[in-house]
Amino acid sequence: MALSRRLTMSDSGFVFDPVTGNSSTVNHIGLAILRQLRQDSDVKRAVAVLQQDFDVASFVAERDVIEFTSMLRNQFR
């Protein structure tokens, strides 16, 4: 996901887009998804990492990743 590589983020969950100047905050789960997508843009692998790290069912992790990436696109388009 090209957008996640563009964004800068800090441990506090503050996210900034240097291209649009928009900023937002994310919680620790959102931060984990962003960091994973920044390393590896494959959404399926992000779901697997989230499922493992947060000990949730696969469908829950998948729903969270899809919802979160959709929200990100709206916020930072």
Binding site: T8, F16, P18, V19, T20, G21, N22, S23
Partner: protein, 357 residues
């Protein structure tokens, strides 16, 4: 600037009004930050109540000018008087409305010993609001369609010609109103034409986010020191109150194309709308620094200082890389003015004595 040398720089546009400030104070502040006491700043303005004239930390002296509507001859006569007192080395005009006269006067000013770094009359004309689509086509940049209007009748029938509301109604020098119906459009037309004259310009509305870029054109087709800003909060007049430095290579490339197309010389502000697809549409090119130019100092790219070096015939200094995320927040404060300072500007049109506010 040579170490130890002092340069006298005259800066116009000291009308630092809280909701719609002129750029002069920000330019003076940038110069003071860059050079300290090695620059002597002469503030120039048109009204004895313009706040910048009394900010002694930025203006070592202050003078009133003849309004641009009085013509270039009156402007020259007044600048000649001021030059006799102040021995100006460089003049930085900061207002759109005075640029045509200043550009005409630039060769005469140079003979008097006053340097400028300005476009020529043709370059100035080619970035005018009513010629933007023409320039954009040459530069390969998107730009909304415009119409030059001399009467408000257009707004009654425009929808039949495919001009849907909302649209933007603009003055040739200043002011822009987004209008949503013929009544609002006619009101905006009359208000803007009474203040700024004809023609009034109708521009198609682009939905998106406004981004601005300021830089200096070197007159050889190169764009120097671009600083980009996204407004985060605005005043009732739509001026930036909070802004964030951004950086987008696409926007920088857009500005480079525009500057190269006219070999722009001098400061400029490029105003664009970024649409939902992330494409930039050119809205305006202002032939001067914007009021938010102090941000350029904040991101290590002090553009007024860069301009001063170029005006003095020096090489452009090295600039820091862009620093997206740096913000400015504008605020209003009072300055204390002795009656004698106000009296001097009212009676003599000048304040040459320094004072502590």
């Amino acid at each position: 600037m040579t170490a130890g040398a002092t340069v006298t720089v005259a800066v116009t546009g000291m009308n630092a009004l809280p909701d719609n400030p002129g750029p002069g104070v920000a330019v003076a502040r940038c110069l003071r930050e860059a050079y300290g006491d090695r620059v002597r700043i002469v503030g120039l303005s048109y009204d004895a109540l313009d706040p910048g004239l009394y900010l002694h930390e930025y203006c070592d002296a202050a003078h009133l000018l003849s309004y641009p509507r009085n013509g270039a001859a009156a402007m020259l006569a007044r600048l000649t008087e001021i030059h006799a007192t102040e021995q100006i080395d460089v003049l930085i005009p900061c207002l759109d409305s005075e640029l045509p006269a200043m550009v005409d006067l630039a060769p005469t000013l140079l003979e008097m010993g006053i340097r400028t770094f300005l476009p020529d009359a043709e370059q100035l004309e080619r970035r005018a609001k009513d010629r933007l689509p023409e320039l954009s086509e040459i530069a390969g940049v998107l730009c909304p369609q415009i119409r030059r209007l001399t009467s408000p009748g257009f707004f009654e029938t425009c929808e039949q010609d495919g001009w849907d509301y909302p649209m933007v109604v603009k003055g040739v020098f200043y002011d822009a109103k987004v209008v949503h119906n013929p009544d609002e459009a006619a009101t905006a037309f009359h208000m803007i034409s009474s203040q700024w004259g004809l023609p009034v310009i109708a521009q198609r509305y682009i939905a998106g986010e406004e981004c601005n870029l300021t830089a200096v054109g070197d007159g050889k087709g190169n764009l120097l020191g671009e600083v980009m800003m996204k407004k985060r909060a605005i005043t009732a007049k739509g001026k930036a109150w909070v802004g964030t430095a951004i950086h987008d290579d696409v926007l920088a490339a857009t500005a480079r194309q525009l500057v190269a197309a006219i070999n722009w010389k001098g400061p400029l502000e490029v105003e664009v709308m970024r649409d939902v697809k992330g494409e930039y549409h050119l809205i305006e090119i202002n032939p001067r620094f914007p009021a938010w130019v102090y941000l350029s100092h904040g991101v290590g790219r002090n553009l007024p200082a860069l301009l001063l070096e170029l005006a003095l015939g020096h090489e452009a200094p090295e600039l820091s890389p862009p620093q997206p995320g740096v913000m400015f927040i504008r605020y209003a404060q009072e300055t204390i003015v002795p009656l004698a300072a106000f009296e001097a500007l009212m009676i003599d049109g000048k304040r040459t004595q320094s004072y502590e506010g």
